[in-house]
Structures are given as structure tokens and as C-alpha cells.
């Protein structure tokens, strides 16, 4: 649970004795509220356009409240960058897609369903490819705007090859009745992070997907087990219902109970299994990450994730939805609170990144609404 930092003119060794995590979050939701509420107001009155600046302000705060060893992080992204990214996507993708949709509608009108189908398929494949590119570029953008001690991260890879990789790996993951999804998720994580760097050091991601299979099978089998269980119950109920039929609505009551149990299982057990899987995935993925002499770890386990999500739901529901604006805060706090780093950093060796800095932000990502990590 410690991290040592040396080099420069100061040698920090206090972390050795204090034994707290290398990552610490100092923010408070009251302070965040002072950012989130004006953001909400401004986003509404600008028909949503302010949200790029809103995101930027929130990140500035969250990053600045995050300590890594002995210095706060810094978010240097700009609202204008995100806005330009969004406009670029709208012009390069949104408008052509509207036109293509019009054309394919016209084709259906004319009875050219085959051509319309082909156009739709090509559109879908292109979107799928761009989703992959978007994931990659979002991570790259975020690293290139994150500074620690005046040093930033980034990547020189534009992510176009990753887009192809995303397509074929996802496809292979689905092919054997979705059984290789853990492999595709982990291998894509590794590929993404192996292309990233911080300062002069490249990230190394070597997460293994095989330990993830047990949890995945648990999640995978839940629906089958549920269906099997429900069928058994229905058979039992039907058998007893014959005798109870004379008594009146008792058979009906049993039926209602079965339906309620089935619905509950579907809405409770399935998400729980999904969270258990995701928690293991994230633990393995972060655990396989290295930066020079630093190793990372994510300590949240399935119960932590479950509590986290239940609390999020409670907050959103109890505040009639307003609590939604605190979700970026909650997510970041959860992430930082459970992040851990071990190893040494040589400050003298940690020199500035030479990666290129793109002038536009998460346009693609924003358009497809996906998360970076």
C-alpha cells in the first residue's frame, strides 16, 4: 500500500510510513454542488451547448481534488475542444448519416430493398468501427489533458487500427454464442493501454482473461438457471393448481407469486451477476497495468460495486432525478478511492511527454456516449 518517490532535490519517504494509498480524493459533494447546479442551469438555458464547458469545470474540480502521492492532478482540457469535437462529428458523421437515411428510405419506397439493406449494413459497420476509434481517442484525449507535476500523458497512435481491432475482436467474442466476450474485453483493454504513455514511459497492459471466465459463466448462466427454475415452479404449481382449482383463486395466487419472483430475479439477480463480473473485469484489467516501475491495483470488490450502485440509484430516485448531476462526482470518487499504486517513481527520469496533442476533444466519444476507462 505504498509508493515511493525519489529524484529531484527532495526524497519523499513519508509515504512509506503513512501507508495510505498513493491516490487520495479530497473533494466534497457540497463543493461539487456549487459547480454542478450552475452547470445544470447554464446547460438548460443554452439548449445543452454549455454541457461541454460544464464537463470541463467538473473535471477541473475532480482532478484538482485528487492527490497522487504528493501532488494534485490537473485537468487542462477546454470546453471549446469538446465543443469543436462535437461539431466535427456532427458535420462529418451526423449530416451524411441523415442524408444516407433519406436515400435509403427513398430506395425502400422504390422497392430497392436489397440496396437499402446493404447501405444500412455498411452504415452499421461504419458506426461500429467508429465506436472503437472513439473509445481509443477518448482515453488518449483524457491522458493528454491530465498533468501531474507538469508532466502529461498521451499517445501518438490515432486509433484507426484499434477501430479495426475492436471490430474483429468483438465479433470473435460474440461468435461462439458470446462465450469469448471476456477475452475480447480484456484483449481490447490491453491493446488500448499498450498504446498509451505518461511522460517518457509507455504503459504496459498484460491482463489475463482466463481468470475472468468463472465470473462470466456465472453471469452467462443466470438467465438459463432462472428459466429452468421458473419452468419447474410452473410445473409444480400447475400440478397443485388442479387440486386447488376447486378452492378458488389459490391457483391464481400461486401464479402471481411465480410472476413476481421471476420479475424480481430478472431485475435483481441479473444485475448483481453483471456487477460481480464487471468488478472482476476491472480488478484484473487495472491489476495488469504497469507504468515503468509503477504497478496499479483496483481494490473494489463485487460488494463494493453493488453498494455503490444501490447508493447511486437511491440518490437519483430520492432526489427525483436531480441527484443525477452528482454521478460524475460519485464515479470519480469511487474510482480514486479504490485505486492503488505500488513501486517507485524517479522524478528526474519523469520527463515531458513527446506525444502529439490534438486540438479537439472527445467528439466521437461524446456522440456515441461511451466512457473512457
Amino acid at each position: 500500500m505504498f509508493c515511493r518517490i525519489f529524484g529531484g532535490n527532495i526524497v519523499m519517504s513519508e509515504d512509506l510510513t503513512q501507508r495510505h494509498s498513493a491516490f487520495r480524493f479530497h473533494g466534497s459533494w457540497q463543493e461539487f454542488a456549487k459547480i454542478a447546479f450552475p452547470n445544470l442551469l447554464l446547460s438548460i438555458v443554452t439548449l445543452g451547448i454549455y454541457r461541454f464547458w460544464a464537463t470541463t469545470r467538473e473535471r477541473e474540480y475532480l482532478w484538482a481534488q485528487t492527490d497522487f502521492i504528493d501532488e494534485r492532478l490537473e485537468w487542462t482540457g477546454k470546453g471549446m475542444e469538446l465543443f469543436i469535437g462535437f461539431i466535427m462529428v456532427f458535420l462529418l458523421l451526423g449530416l451524411p448519416f441523415i442524408v444516407i437515411q433519406l436515400i435509403s428510405q427513398g430506395l425502400i419506397f422504390r422497392g430497392e430493398t436489397v440496396i437499402a439493406g446493404v447501405i444500412t449494413l455498411v452504415m452499421f459497420l461504419l458506426l461500429f468501427y467508429l465506436t472503437g476509434v472513439a473509445y481509443f481517442r477518448a482515453l488518449r484525449y483524457r491522458l493528454s489533458r491530465t498533468y501531474w507535476r507538469g508532466i502529461r500523458g498521451g499517445s501518438n497512435d490515432p486509433g484507426f487500427r484499434y477501430g479495426l481491432s475492436y471490430m474483429w475482436r468483438s465479433f470473435v467474442g460474440w461468435l461462439p454464442i458470446f462465450l469469448l466476450v471476456p477475452w475480447s474485453m480484456i484483449s481490447l483493454w490491453n491493446e488500448r493501454w499498450n498504446a498509451m504513455s505518461f511522460g517518457p514511459h509507455r504503459f504496459e497492459a498484460n491482463a489475463d482473461w482466463k481468470p475472468l471466465m468463472k465470473r462470466y459463466l456465472l453471469f452467462y448462466l443466470v438467465p438459463f438457471l432462472l428459466v429452468a427454475g421458473i419452468i419447474t415452479m410452473v410445473i409444480v404449481a400447475a400440478a397443485s393448481g388442479d387440486q386447488l382449482g376447486a378452492v378458488g383463486g389459490a391457483g391464481m395466487a400461486v401464479g402471481v407469486v411465480i410472476v413476481v419472483i421471476a420479475a424480481l430475479s430478472l431485475y435483481i439477480i441479473l444485475p448483481l451477476a453483471a456487477l460481480a463480473f464487471y468488478s472482476k473485469y476491472f480488478r484484473l484489467a487495472v491489476g495488469g497495468l504497469r507504468l515503468h516501475n509503477l504497478e496499479f491495483d483496483f481494490r473494489a470488490r463485487a460488494p463494493d460495486w453493488i453498494l455503490f450502485f444501490l447508493a447511486n440509484m437511491a440518490i437519483v430516485i430520492c432526489t427525483l432525478g436531480i441527484g443525477y448531476i452528482f454521478m460524475p462526482y460519485r464515479n470519480w470518487k469511487f474510482f480514486v478511492d479504490h485505486m492503488e499504486a505500488y513501486g517507485d517513481i524517479n522524478i528526474d527520469e519523469l520527463t515531458q511527454s513527446k506525444t502529439i496533442v490534438s486540438k479537439h476533444g472527445e467528439g466521437l466519444l461524446d456522440a456515441f456516449d461511451v466512457g473512457a476507462i
Binding site: 442551469l41 484538482a64 422497392g111 496533442v357
Partner: protein
């Protein structure tokens, strides 16, 4: 100038943290670190980066990662030379939150108003050649679904001629599709679906619906709707996800309701001019209202449904058409009995026309 507050510096080349003092010389400054001196730097190149709790962070233009971090009471001589703190970003900081909110609200309302109103003025400016090309591209020969027989075509032509004074720039067709519907498309194209013609009890009913669609063409509703939809997509593109789509639909719908009423008015006028009785159209809506349930629903539910749906409720339209009946007027049937039979059986007679949509195999 010696200072007592804390100043830290990162040079952007390495992660080494340097405790420094600022030495100001006119519009320039040096950073003194033990025996080393960094600089000179110009105050005009200094940019505000961010705030880390009580530490204000400054950067230097064009030097990646260069940081000057100040904590404690900054001497006023120094703070005057440093750029202002940023809170919300450019415009909002300059105006203040309250004024910026008002300004943004007004600008947004103006943008939405322009998008909603301008199609009415813009649509007539679009040359009819563009309109026609768009219609041709969209419809073509409708996949060979248009029905045609010499007698049926003649009956349809007679109907169109009686309802419009410039029938040459309209293209009215009956399509072999079993749906009770009719559409107006760009380029003066009006398509009556065979299902509508078949279930009609008199040619007067078809005339009313046809006149309604011609009304859409004549009032340039089709181009207006296209422009409005495009404009709303642009303006509300900034709003993410469902809320944007909902607002978009509501605005588009409430407006097209207006267009429907206009097209109805056009239809009543055209019927009157052609001396065709609106009774048929009224009874058509009567039957339609039984289909869409507006005849059965209570008054309250009706109001909501009427607002949200793009077509005004059939029952209200029925009443409007009934009102337009002029008592004592000598109405003539829209078509003779023979013509009406020819029109009704046109699609059955025309065996070459394809039926349905491309995806069903009838």
C-alpha cells in the same frame, strides 16, 4: 522582490518540483531557485490554468507543462500582473452568472423561434425544380406500385381537375398498397393508397382526402416540414439523448397539427368550388374516429391525445366538414357511377402493378 507566500514551479521538462521566489523586473520576471535562476519570462505569456484548493496554478504560453503555483496571500503588486482567475469560462465570467443566464435564455428562445417560423418564409424560396428533383429521387416509380388503366386514369384526372386550377404541376397516383392512407410528397406528388380508395363509400370521400393532400402541396407544407425537421435537429443537437428527441417531436407535431388544419381548410374550399358535397368526407372521418378511438374516449383524454398526435382528432375534423355544408346548395357527385367503379377497381384490373411493400411476399 522577496515574498513570504509560497511559490512552486515545474519547468515542464521534468517532474522535479522547485521551490522558487519571483523576481519581478518591469513586465518580466525570473524564478529564483537556490543558486539557479529560471527565466526571464514575460507576464503577458502567463495563463491561468486551474485552482487546486487554495493553490492557484498558472501556465506559460507555448511551454507544455510549465507551471507556477501560488499559495497564501499573493502580494497585490504581483496579482495585478497575473491574469484573472477563471470560473465558468469566457463569456459567463465576463457577464456574471445571472446576466449570462438571461442572455443565453433569450438567445435560445430566439434560435428556436427562428427555426420554427423560418420554414414558412424559406419554403417558397426553394425553386420548384429542386422540389421536383427531390420528389423524383424519393418516389421514382414507387417500385412499380402505381396502378394504371385508361378509364381509371381518366376518372382520377377528372377528380384532380375539378379540385385544382393548376393540375399540370401535380402528380396524383393510386398505389397498390392496402392501407387507409394518403401522402403528399415533395415535387407536387400525391399518392392515394388503394386501401383508402377501396373502403371509400363514395367518390366524394376520396375527393375530400385528395383535396386535403393537394392542400399540403399548395401550402408548401412538405418543404416546410423538411426544413423544420432539419433546423430542429441542428438547434437541439446540443441537447443530449431523449429530452432533445421529445422536445423535437413535440415542436414538430404541434406545428404539423396547424398544417393539417390548413390543409383541411383548403380541402373544404376546393370541394365547395367543385360543388362536391363535404358530407362524404365527414362520414369518412366519422368511420376513422371509430378506428382511432376518439369517439369513445372521454373529454379529458381527448384533449391530451389531440395535442400530442400529428393529425387533429378525426371527430373534430368530421364536425368541421359538417359545418362547411351549405344548405340548399345543389351538390353534384364527384364522379359518375361508372367512373367511380373504374377508379375503385383500377388496382385490381392492373395486374402489372406490384403490391404491398418490398419486404412482404404477397
Amino acid at each position: 522582490m522577496d515574498t513570504f507566500f509560497n511559490v512552486w514551479h515545474y519547468d515542464g521538462r521534468s517532474a522535479v518540483r522547485r521551490k522558487v521566489e519571483i523576481q519581478t523586473i518591469g513586465r518580466q520576471f525570473f524564478l529564483l531557485e537556490n543558486e539557479r535562476r529560471h527565466g526571464p519570462f514575460s507576464f503577458s505569456d502567463v495563463e491561468y490554468v486551474t485552482r487546486k484548493e487554495n493553490v492557484h496554478v498558472y501556465g506559460l504560453a507555448d511551454v507544455d507543462g510549465w507551471r507556477l503555483m501560488l499559495s497564501g496571500p499573493v502580494p497585490s503588486e504581483l496579482s495585478e500582473l497575473l491574469p484573472a482567475h477563471r470560473k465558468y469560462g469566457g463569456w459567463v465570467d465576463r457577464l456574471g452568472l445571472g446576466k449570462a443566464t438571461i442572455a443565453f435564455t433569450l438567445a435560445s428562445a430566439a434560435a428556436v423561434a427562428v427555426v420554427l417560423l423560418s420554414p414558412q418564409w424559406l419554403a417558397p424560396l426553394i425553386p420548384s425544380s429542386v422540389d421536383k428533383k427531390l420528389g423524383d429521387a424519393l418516389v421514382g416509380d414507387f417500385g412499380g406500385r402505381f396502378c394504371s388503366t385508361p378509364a381509371g386514369d381518366a376518372a382520377l384526372k377528372k377528380l384532380v381537375n375539378s379540385l385544382d386550377s393548376n393540375p399540370q404541376d401535380l402528380q396524383v397516383e393510386v398505389a397498390k398498397i392496402d392501407m387507409i392512407n394518403a401522402v403528399a410528397l415533395p415535387g407536387g406528388k400525391v399518392i392515394l393508397f388503394d386501401g383508402l380508395v377501396k373502403q371509400a363509400r363514395s367518390p366524394d370521400e376520396v375527393a375530400g382526402v385528395l383535396a386535403h393532400e393537394i392542400g399540403h402541396v399548395r401550402e408548401k407544407h412538405v418543404m416546410q416540414a423538411l426544413l423544420r425537421q432539419m433546423g430542429l435537429a441542428v438547434v437541439l443537437g446540443g441537447v443530449d439523448g431523449n429530452s432533445g428527441a421529445l422536445v423535437n417531436n413535440m415542436l414538430a407535431m404541434s406545428y404539423s397539427r396547424n398544417s393539417e388544419a390548413e390543409a383541411d381548410a383548403h380541402s373544404m374550399k376546393a370541394l365547395g368550388k367543385a360543388e362536391i358535397s363535404p358530407v362524404g368526407t365527414a362520414s369518412f372521418f366519422e368511420r376513422l374516429s371509430e378506428l382511432d378511438g376518439s369517439a369513445r374516449s372521454g373529454d379529458k383524454g381527448q384533449g391530451i391525445a389531440g395535442y400530442m398526435s400529428s393529425h387533429p382528432l378525426s371527430r373534430e375534423r368530421k364536425k368541421a366538414f359538417e359545418k362547411s355544408i351549405v344548405k340548399g346548395k345543389n351538390y353534384k357527385p364527384a364522379l359518375t357511377a361508372t367512373e367511380w367503379t373504374e377508379l375503385k377497381t383500377m388496382c385490381t384490373q392492373d395486374r402489372k402493378a406490384k403490391s404491398g411493400f418490398g419486404f412482404d411476399f404477397e
